[in-house]
Symmetry: C2
Subunit: 602 residues, 2 copies
């Protein structure tokens, strides 16, 4: 029997799989909840997974029945029929999971007067005759001028391609979606005009379907970013994209497919057609933005980390492969720098820190943590390479915030209490859980200021590495204990040190002290679930009164929605990107020392 | 032995082919000059033809070697290896012909001050550094602002996709092609900015490569419109397109391929890259325009013949599949009506009749003949269904103006002289030849006013139809005599009657007489080669002093070039389309009687 390493993405669970063990069995052992109705007989066809890397056993006859040729070509397999022949990386599509993964769509309210870029006009058109053989575009503009005083403009090429039959099918009574002077959609007068906003994170995507005229969010959905299969962090993906344009194209296609799937889901939720979506706003970090648009990334991946495009962009949805109204535009908010992207601009927009007089810090914590300081109207940003520890990567029992993850922990003397996502038995530890564990160990003296693990009844040594037993073998019969090792603590120290050093650089560059900060806004999916006290305890965040901190959820998603429904908000986003100063940490003298200092536990 | 009908396109030669006769043999019999280096052994692979309709013998082993799988899939065969099993229609690609077909690219001079829509700016950019990590788009706009006072605008999406590597490859010294506020091209400072103009006719395409800054035409090329394989006239093609979107797509693809092939040829002629072409102007009749853009044509094919789009359009070359600069636009001049398209506007623009005070008539004669009357500043147009007789279709020995065609003829008593395109032996009669023949027969009393053929030594009867022997069997040993039959004369009468009736409708609608016309401008490929005296003799054109007439060649091509190099000319074209009245002949009371009258020979 040979043991191989197996990595389930995007759930982020990793472990061993014997060569005589099916991928379904490995998934169960690692508590990845794959659907399996037939119980592994190969007959229900539900436990589909995609083999992203590594060798596996040949296709079985059952699989040839259950999978389409296209799926087979794309590496799809039935987990119950497939055995590893090497280390493997497995992508688990959302529909193959029994319990959905937690993604973050909630955020600040969308508090802006709707002033959408696309407006509707209902017109009644006189049909042409032999004596008045007026061209269809002309008839439409005539009716718009007469009935709404709209001056003739242009018709989107793809709207032009459907104009004539559509006018006739709708009996010459239509609703026109007008963007500036361009007709981007043409439907029946009964159809509402909708918008789509998305925040594409490195690991998660949050999408929103919005009524453009009321500004109301009709539906929202979270999804994992399927590009994770190509790399946990954007640096890996950039590297891959610049080495292989085929991989770059595949990553783009994966993302586009995911967005289209999300669009379908959102439209189904509220019983509308995707053709009613006449405008979209998409935000993401600069790398995601570039990979999505197939902009070159080689100059982004190497110092001095230059974005190809900083300006806001309006690109036809058609050119991006998104299924919206035929002439719909996708608006991409501007980027600030190579590691401060449109999502950062959206976060600044949604938190309104740019409009406040005080000293405010706003952070979006993740694999990269972008931080913006507003010092009496001056905006400055940094981006910290906080690494994937918060997502559970490089942590022995780490996992994403999925069912079974320990998300919070308290320790009173030797007594340990924890909270598990979805209840049930613990499977691993997610980022917020790890933060709590390290804070509690520090408070209880199990860790010293340098993060070194001290002697304690729950501390033991395995293969020369100290580890703190969170859930013992006795508590998980037949399974390994869940531990936090000295190495895990080091990983967290690096992550939190990067953030704290970034805050210090910002504060020092403005000639102020951390204690001058009046408010700290913590945005982002991860930031929503962390215990702020723990973050302060380990020194990730400055020691400030508890009521200085607020956790606002997905602010980038809110910013995207603001820019979707309001041209004024879009202009503000533009102004933010123009105003925001950016400090490249690598260019700050003595930054490495500052960073090393910041890794100490508070 | 069975005889099948064979039709060689686009050369327009038709005849019989026995089932034991190869297509190469049939081509030779019908004087279609197919290349055949090996003499029909199947080894040289040069006699490639495309079987468009009908059944033929199976593929031979030689063909499997000579043809690519894609060619085989597209119906390509070696003419020497292929035998008919039914009536067949064969497309002969230009490269399989020994002598090129005559197409018309010459026209009026391009007399306008260049004022091109795309201008160039050379900039030298400061490369980014870690201390000044400016995004590439921003660096470019900064340089444009500092060095040329150009305000920041937008970057075409596909230019954005190459921006970063291009700046670095060119060592930060670039030539920017700016169209309004949009960057559409980015090249080295040594590269001239070029434009492409094309007049796409129902049967022929004329293309021009133009230096945008000097306005000079650098190269021109004529090509047959490959859509001919799908139908001689636009009505057939519209009908096909509305029945089958696959056929519509194939017709579009054929045209796009032909234009790309033309672009390659033009660029090779003057040693430039197609990426230097930063703007194109394309004109064609409304049906060609719609088929090229994949606009719906069903409403165009049925009364009241409504264009989907009348307005001028700016469409990205990328969206049309044309290989120009990444952000280049294709400008399509406006249409006037379903049967008066952008080519008519271009013709009016080039002939400048709209700017003249007198009474001027301009005609573009072809399968459809568009006529515009300028009556002291008022423009009115008609379109006449003159039919394909001028192109040699429906004429027993008719053919297009290709080598071997009798293009002119004079008769003195019984003495006949004719002029053959390319010299050599006569093969058939093209449109201008037929016009001369009918005029000469009328002048010599062989035809009466009604077009009836009278007794004459050269007139005989075959299968109950009278025919005039132009080239006897004795003059073409082993081949049939070349004759003009009573039926051929009728076809020409219909064609010329349609044109004359159109002129009469225009004149009457303005309350003037034909004799008031001060100038007649005859445009178009066919119009260039006709004998005006013959056209007047048969009553196709009004009887006016000879010096009233001028033949200007491809005026639509000239108009396209004017609109290419000058924004002012483009605005004029727009004004022409707005001003031009259009009379739908089908709506004119008593038109049928007028038409019948007009078929009489003068």
């Amino acid at each position: 029997m040979t043991l191989y390493h197996i990595d389930f993405e995007p759930v982020g669970r990793r472990g061993d799989c014997a060569d005589d063990q099916s991928i379904l069995a490995a998934a169960r052992k690692l508590s990845v909840d794959l659907v399996s109705i037939c119980g592994g007989l190969g007959s229900c066809g539900r436990c589909q997974v995609q083999i992203v890397a590594g060798q596996v056993s040949p296709l079985t006859a059952d699989e040839e029945i259950a999978l389409t040729p296209r799926e087979i070509e794309q590496g799809y397999r039935l987990a119950c029929q497939t055995f590893p022949l090497s280390d493997v990386k497995v992508h688990v599509p959302a529909q193959s999971l029994t319990a959905p993964q937690r993604t973050q769509v909630e955020g600040l309210d969308v508090a802006a007067q709707p002033d959408p870029p696309v407006c509707h006009f209902d017109v009644q058109i006189a049909p042409p005759t032999l004596h008045s053989p007026i061209a269809d575009d002309r008839s439409l503009w005539n009716a718009l001028a007469e009935q709404h005083q709209v001056q003739p403009g242009i018709v989107d090429f793809r709207v032009a391609q459907i104009l004539s039959p559509r006018l006739r099918d709708l009996n010459w009574s239509v609703r026109v979606g007008l963007r500036g002077n361009e007709i981007v959609a043409l439907g029946s007068p009964a159809q509402r005009l909708l918008g789509f906003a998305a925040d594409i994170g490195t690991t998660k995507i949050a999408g929103y379907l919005v009524d453009l005229e009321t500004g109301q969010t009709l539906a929202s959905q979270g999804l994992m970013n399927p590009q994770i299969s190509y790399g946990e962090d954007v640096v890996t993906r950039i590297d891959l994209a610049r080495r292989s344009s085929a991989d770059a194209e595949r990553m783009r296609q994966l993302l586009t497919d995911a967005l289209n799937q999300m669009l379908d889901g959102l439209c189904t939720q509220v019983h509308v057609q995707s053709e009613q979506i006449v405008e979209a706003v998409i935000v993401g970090n600069t790398a995601i933005h570039h990979l999505f648009l197939r902009l070159p990334v080689i100059q982004l991946g190497l110092a001095p980390y230059i974005p190809a495009m900083r300006a806001a962009l309006d690109i036809k949805a058609h050119d991006l492969g998104l299924r919206l109204a035929p002439g719909a535009y996708v608006h991409l908010l501007p980027n600030i720098a190579g590691y401060a992207g449109a999502d950062h601009v959206a976060m600044i927009l949604a938190t309104r820190i740019a409009e406040t007089d005080g000293i405010i810090l706003a952070l979006d914590i993740g694999t990269n943590t972008e931080i913006c300081l507003n010092h009496r109207g001056r905006l400055a940003s940094v981006s910290c390479a906080s690494g994937p520890a918060f997502e559970g990567a490089h942590i022995q029992f780490g996992m994403r915030a999925a069912p079974g993850a320990i998300e919070h922990m308290r320790m009173t003397q030797d007594q340990i209490e924890y909270q598990i996502i979805g209840g049930g038995v613990p499977v691993g530890i997610c980022g917020s859980g790890l933060l709590d564990v390290v804070a509690q160990l520090r408070l209880n003296g199990v860790l010293n200021r340098h993060g070194q693990m001290q002697n304690h009844p729950r501390v033991r040594e395995t293969n020369g590495v100290r580890e703190f037993v969170l859930v013992s073998e006795q508590q998980r019969p037949g399974q390994k204990a869940i531990v936090v090792s000295q190495l895990d603590v080091r990983e967290l120290q690096l992550a939190k040190g990067a953030i704290r050093a970034g805050i210090q650089v910002l504060v020092e560059s403005e000639g102020i002290a951390e204690q001058d900060i009046g408010r700290v806004i913590i945005a982002g999916a991860f930031g929503t679930f962390i215990d702020v006290a723990s973050a302060v305890t380990i020194g990730m965040l400055p020691t400030l009164p508890r009521d200085c901190f607020s956790q606002v959820g997905n602010a980038a998603g809110t910013g995207a929605r603001l820019a979707l429904i309001s041209r004024e908000q879009r202009a503000r986003a533009q102004a933010i990107a123009e105003r925001a100063g950016y400090i490249e940490l690598a260019s700050v003298p003595g930054f490495q020392r500052k960073f090393a200092q910041a890794t100490f536990l508070g």
